[in-house]
């Protein structure tokens, strides 16, 4: 079989998913210095919200929008009601987000049950793509496309808009940004909502591949951490590049050295932390 071509496509597909997963985490971590351990749970909420929206009769595209918006609201509430009270207390925030993620996963268990719930791939993408003798699932290529579009939109948002300029200023030096009149409070809530929105979107878009199941949250959280640490904190480009690097490493690693799948996944992170603590593209030391 066309091992290399298919595995390359697999790598891109996984990379795209990883970017959808980790861009929101990177955004929040970069600006607010909060290692938001609810991120995996928000991703899972997105997947389950899409399940409910599709049961109500919406297509996947609309379900993804609904999921993203509802998860954004949840994110806003978490920031306003919990994290706000713990500002400056990094340990407290980590513990609070960890606790919230447990609550969220049991909430999902109560509402949606313990079974794995499949999310249907849209009918138009169900047939595999056949191209020059290669057979590949069409939807995975769509996911790569979505990831690239989301990446570009985020890039433009960060580089070309006033909000982006404020976020960049905050990432670089929060105190100075405040001094020049940026309202940190509103900015934090906005960014947290945006990060949660991306997580919810990722959960819905990744749904047809991962399905919605209890435990999705912790599976995803560790992947997001790897990507963000490798890419560098506060760097969108870094997150994008790191997503695809991990996509390639993981895919080829499991294909060529299947016994070492987890070693291969975490080794790059260890090396980066040891030799380049700021990550590949980051400027901030953790």
């Amino acid at each position: 079989m066309q091992f290399w071509q298919i595995q390359t496509l697999n790598s891109f597909a996984l990379g795209g998913l990883l970017f959808l997963l980790s861009s929101g985490f990177a955004l929040i971590f970069g600006l607010m210095r909060i290692a938001n351990l609810t991120h995996g749970a928000l991703f899972m909420l997105g997947a389950y919200a899409a399940v409910s929206a599709m049961r109500a009769g919406f297509g996947l595209a609309l379900a993804a929008v609904i999921a993203a918006l509802s998860v954004a609201v949840v994110g806003g509430l978490i920031e306003r009601l919990v994290l706000r009270r713990l500002s400056g207390n990094a340990q407290g925030q980590v513990l609070a987000t960890l606790g919230l993620s447990f609550i969220a996963s049991d909430f999902c268990l109560i509402v949606w049950g313990g079974d794995t719930i499949p999310i249907q791939t849209p009918a138009m993408f169900q047939a595999p793509l056949r191209f020059m003798g290669l057979i590949f699932p069409t939807y995975r290529l769509v996911v790569v496309g979505i990831a690239v579009v989301v990446g570009m939109v985020l890039y433009l948002l960060m580089e070309r808009t006033r909000l982006g300029a404020m976020i960049r200023a905050g990432v670089d030096d929060m105190q100075m940004a405040r001094a020049v009149g940026i309202r940190a409070s509103a900015l934090f809530t906005t960014v947290f909502c945006l990060g949660a929105l991306l997580a919810g979107l990722g959960g819905a878009v990744g749904g047809p591949i991962f399905s919605a199941y209890p435990g999705l949250d912790s599976d995803m959280l560790s992947l997001a951490l790897i990507v963000v640490i490798l890419g560098g904190i506060g760097s969108l480009v870094g997150t994008f590049v790191a997503s695809f690097i991990i996509g390639f490493i993981y895919t080829f690693g499991t294909a060529l050295l299947p016994d070492l799948a987890y070693v291969i996944l975490f080794l790059p992170m260890v090396i980066v932390i040891a030799f380049r603590p700021t990550g590949l593209f980051g400027t901030i030391r953790t």
Binding site: L17, G114, P214
Partner: protein
């Protein structure tokens, strides 16, 4: 949390009663309720099976008016969260605070291993659900009986079926990279190759593999079929992605006892139709007990019972039979344990008896996924009666060899 507090109050009340009546309890042994502990998983990724375990046992008790052998049964349920450390703490709680006399569960092999020593020292008769081979083999725990299956007990049968009935020559085996998956596939490989087949590829994706794409792309397409040794929802995710990669029709798919369990089937579509799996149970079994149990379970909970629900239901039947033979006296642990091992009764899974190691000898079924009344079911296509965990091998020789693993028996025909 409310559950914990309630359990605590119950426990405290029971302890108080225990103290108050301790002087009289010896003489009143036969009227005290039997204290049965269920170790299950109600939170986290394994909760689906764990909730089914509780429902299966609940249904058994409801059908029998909450009685076993003429005595009331106090069921105390503990949630291990699927973690070995919690499993041990909860077992200690059940035994020391709730004073349970008999245990059923836990769900996962690593939980069973975590409580193994404690069960030995406390001498608590335990009706296990978990599959780990050595629990009833090289390190057989004298306080365990297992009425479900060892990891490879069912896969031996499927391997024999593939080699001799389906006449497959070359096969791939794939399973989660945990002891359960490795043992299941090793047993499959041994029997398949001894009956003339060749295992040309062995794959072990991590238990939490985010995606099977990179494994599906490696599959050797000259194989006749692939055996899925997955647990939980991984089998169903694999089958879906197998189809998405256009592999459907290139090779047949067969599965082990948890690859396409009833609990997974209810969320699947046509992609599952026609797949053969092997198990010691099917909700479609046509025996006098199951034709009542399966519809009653479906009526109560809205779906078919599978591996876990049937596991604790059958355990209920076995415990009841053993208690009957000791006159309802659960306090004499040695007598109860001996009675459990001598059980030979008809159950929802068919006839059950135990070997000297405490593992079940019973029917194993080859099932095919079919659509019936709009839902997917595992229709029984062939029954292999009286299958032991040692298949057709001599137990002594079998136990002299290493336990099944990734590399044992060695694969000689990999391509």
């Amino acid at each position: 949390m409310a559950m914990d507090r309630r359990q605590f109050l119950q426990g405290a009340a029971a302890a108080g009663v225990g103290v108050a009546y301790s002087g009289m309890s010896l003489g009143q042994g036969s009227t005290d309720p039997i204290r049965l502990g269920l170790l299950t998983v109600k939170t986290g990724p394994l909760a689906s099976g764990g909730i089914d375990m509780e429902r299966g046992l609940d249904l058994y008790l409801k059908e029998h008016g909450g009685m076993m052998a003429g005595r009331r049964v106090d069921l105390i349920v503990a949630d291990t969260g699927g973690s070995p450390a919690t499993a041990l703490t909860k077992t200690q709680e059940l035994v020391e605070r709730n004073k349970v006399q008999v245990l059923t569960g836990p769900l996962a092999a690593f939980e069973a291993l975590a409580i193994d020593d404690y069960i030995r020292t406390q001498k608590i008769p335990t009706l296990s659900v978990a599959a780990a081979e050595d629990m009833t083999q090289r390190k057989a725990n004298p306080w365990f009986v297992r009425a479900t299956s060892s990891s490879a007990q069912c896969s031996h049968v499927m391997a024999y079926h593939c080699a001799t009935v389906l006449k497959y020559k070359k096969m791939i085996v794939i399973a989660d990279d945990i002891a359960y998956g490795q043992e299941m596939n090793a047993g499959f490989q041994r029997v398949f190759e001894e009956n003339g087949g060749k295992i040309i590829q062995k794959l072990f994706p991590p238990l939490t593999a985010p995606d099977y794409g990179s494994f599906i792309a490696q599959l050797k397409t000259d194989a006749d079929a692939i055996f899925l040794g997955f647990a939980g929802s991984n089998g169903f995710r694999f089958v879906r992605q197998f189809n998405e990669y256009g592999m459907n029709g290139k090779m047949k798919v067969v599965g082990g006892m948890t690859a396409l369990d009833e609990s997974v089937l209810r969320n699947m579509g046509d992609e599952a139709l026609g797949i053969l799996t092997v198990c010691w149970y099917s909700s479609e079994l046509n025996n006098p007990i199951n034709v009542k149990f399966a519809p009653a379970f479906r009526k109560a909970y809205g779906y078919d019972p599978g591996y876990y629900a049937a596991g604790t239901y059958v355990n209920g039947e076995i415990l009841n039979a053993a208690l009957l033979s000791v006159g309802g006296n659960a306090a004499n642990k040695d007598a109860l344990m001996a009675a459990l091992k001598q059980t030979h009764i008809q159950t929802a899974r068919g006839p059950v008896r135990f070997d000297t190691y405490g593992n079940v000898v019973g029917n194993i079924y080859i099932r095919r996924v079919e659509r019936k009344d709009g839902r997917l079911v595992n229709a029984v296509v062939q029954t292999y009666p009286d299958v032991s965990q040692f298949w057709k091998y001599d137990p002594k020789k079998f136990l002299a060899e290493p336990v099944y693993s990734r590399d044992w028996p060695p694969a000689k025909n990999l391509e």
